[in-house]
């Protein structure tokens, strides 16, 4: 019995780590631009494809393909911000859509564009990403785990820690936080807010792409593979508090564990809806999430 519980907990935590890669990026975007990026799942998808194609088609070793996918995600994120997100803060109000509408429509459109583009160019059939390591099952204490998953989880953990440290202590991290708190004030203080936004989007894209790459051996790449993780990450950023990195991390782990236990003890069929129900409840009764700031204009 205890083995089962530990097993479920570990599985949940590991799943949570992968969720966190997606959620942290989304949270950062919200913090700096106050929008939900509806194309976030597609950054994940592009990462999965980039990793798979670069290693399988170009013959690049997996340990190079992985950072390449990270880079591809970064470029995609950066390009998205430069071309589409400028109107949100460049004082450009000459279109007939309100800010929020614009953000939803444009990111939604981007999502559809990427999904269909990949579907047309690469094809709709699933592609299995190469494993990172060759050993499969191994023992960690009382728990069995696939080596691949373990390595991927460790990489995810390392990256999350790195990003947290970056945001906390680095020069650009502080700039990003300043812009997130007060855009106008930050620009008055001489911070290049446009650069900060681009950086955030690039980082978010990279993290999501990494997540897709790491999971591609298990969750094979298809054009719409990103829709599911995207929905999870929306749930998480709401639960954790939009714009809060620690919140996203905590909420990711919690959701992973909740789903893990819920699938066994509550309902396997509805394991994916627990998060959705929580999302609605939180948005109604505690919109700032667990760690977000109250008083945000909802």
């Amino acid at each position: 019995m205890t083995t089962l519980i530990i097993d479920l907990a570990v599985t949940g935590l590991i799943t949570g780590l992968f969720y966190a890669l997606m959620a942290v990026g989304l949270s950062l975007i919200f913090g700096i631009l106050r929008i939900v990026n509806f194309a976030h799942g597609e950054f994940y998808m592009v990462g999965a494809y980039a990793y798979t194609l670069i290693s399988l088609v170009l013959g690049v070793p997996v340990w190079l393909a992985l950072p390449s996918a990270f880079l591809v995600g970064a470029i995609l994120g950066w390009a998205t911000e430069r071309t589409l997100m400028r109107p949100l803060y460049a004082g450009y109000t000459s279109w007939g859509l309100m800010r929020d509408e614009y953000a939803v429509i444009v990111t939604f459109g981007l999502s559809l564009l990427l999904i269909n583009l990949v579907d047309k160019i690469i094809g709709p059939y699933a592609m299995r990403g190469p494993s990172l390591v060759s050993f499969s099952r191994m023992h960690i204490g009382p728990v069995f785990m696939s080596g691949d998953r373990l390595v991927a989880a460790l990489i995810a953990l390392a990256i999350i820690v790195a990003v947290s440290l970056f945001i906390r202590y680095s020069f650009w991290g502080k700039q990003i936080r300043a812009v997130a708190q007060n855009r106008l004030g930050a620009s008055l203080a001489g911070i290049d807010t446009a650069r900060a936004s681009s950086l955030v989007f690039a980082l978010a894209g990279a993290l999501a792409a990494l997540s897709g790459a790491l999971l591609s051996p298990v969750i094979n790449a298809t054009p719409d593979v990103g829709i599911f993780p995207a929905i999870k990450s929306y749930v998480i950023v709401v639960l954790g508090g939009m714009g809060s990195i620690p919140g996203s991390i905590v909420a990711s782990l919690m959701l992973g564990v909740l789903e893990s236990f819920g699938a066994v003890y509550l309902s396997y069929q509805y394991r994916d809806t627990f998060g959705l129900v929580l999302l609605i409840l939180f948005l109604l009764f505690r919109p700032q999430g667990l760690f977000g700031e109250k008083g945000r204009e909802v």
């Binding site: 007939g96 509408e101 444009v106 047309k120 749930v235 999302l279 609605i280």
Partner: protein
């Protein structure tokens, strides 16, 4: 002084022209396949129109229209499957059920806006789809339900859909040219300002939700009987995505836009299917471009073309270009 009323009158006239063309198309198109394509376009046109009232006029950007079509389809499907109810009762029930659920959803999201509203409706839509998919004993889950038809001839279905679509458009026209149209747009542009002027924000938002979901439910129910089949796939987010594409391309916040968008996107989708099918990529690009540069959509183009230069300013409406 021209104002929104004039604008909606012009739009309704255009709608009438479009519907007339659609009515006459069977003279040129007689094969069942293409009639079927047009019928499905009309299904989307109803959903698009409904979503446009909610999002384009009232400003509530919901991601649930496809879910309501699915709810409507399953209401009539389940009634037929389990109790042998005749389709007319099923369709009526579908409208009532989707409206009621829409009303409840509307009350739930009252205090939400922007991406929070979108996320909540998205979550709602996915939960609904999960419930229907998983209630295998009742709904047969992903296998779907067989649903009895109503008419034998495809042409008959064509005109049935057209009649319902016309009624829906006329209904929206009468709603939007009245004070309700003004209130919805005011709510969209500034809820607090609207309330301060005396507009019953709660009431109108709720009505918008109920109406929009009711019409989607109606469309779904009709489609179910037409296709002789309902499945949870009706409620996929990608279906909502299609509806949104259609409205944005056609012109959000206009009466004729959703119609134009629905026919254009769906029919051309089918026409280009054999030729390589990059149409969805093109449409997604158009959505982005239109959102970025020209939110009035295709209807906006049409309107501007039809006006002499010095009168263009007169028909300022949703999203007129800003000077400088």
């Amino acid at each position: 002084m021209t104002n929104a009323r004039t604008r909606v009158n012009i739009e309704f006239a255009a709608t009438g022209v479009i519907l007339l063309i659609v009515a006459l198309l069977p003279l040129a198109v007689s094969n069942d396949y293409w009639l079927g394509v047009l019928i499905v376009s009309m299904y989307f046109a109803m959903c698009a129109s409904a979503w446009n009232v909610l999002a384009g006029y009232a400003g509530q950007f919901s991601l649930a229209p496809a879910a309501f079509a699915m709810i409507g389809a399953y209401t009539t499907g389940l009634l037929a499957y389990h109790s042998g109810a005749p389709p007319w009762i099923g369709i009526l029930a579908a409208v009532v059920v989707s409206s009621l659920i829409g009303l409840v959803l509307g009350r739930i999201v009252l205090r939400l806006s922007g991406p929070y509203l979108a996320l909540t409706t998205l979550a709602f839509a996915e939960i609904m789809r999960a419930v229907i998919s998983n209630s295998i004993n009742i709904t047969r889950g992903d296998l779907g339900l067989e649903v009895p038809g109503i008419l034998q001839s495809r042409l008959g279905w064509y005109f049935l859909f057209l009649a319902v679509l016309t009624l829906v458009q006329a209904g929206f026209y009468f709603l939007l040219r009245a004070r309700a149209g003004l209130y919805l747009q005011a709510i969209r542009d500034d809820e607090i300002g609207a309330a301060s002027r005396g507009v019953e924000v709660v009431f109108w938002k709720t009505i918008a939700f109920a109406l929009s979901s009711g019409v989607c439910g109606l469309a779904g129910a009709l489609y179910g009987h037409f296709a002789h089949f309902v499945s949870p796939e009706l409620g996929l987010i990608s279906q909502t995505g299609l509806v949104i594409i259609m409205v944005v391309i056609g012109g959000m916040g206009t009466l004729a836009g959703p119609l134009i968008g629905a026919f254009l996107v769906y029919a051309s989708s089918e026409m280009l299917r054999d030729v390589g099918g990059w149409q969805l990529v093109v449409f997604a690009l158009l959505v982005i471009l239109f959102a970025r540069f020209f939110s009035e959509g295709l209807w906006g183009f049409v309107r501007r073309l039809g006006l002499p230069r010095n009168h263009r300013a007169l028909v300022a409406g949703s999203g007129a270009e800003r000077k400088g």
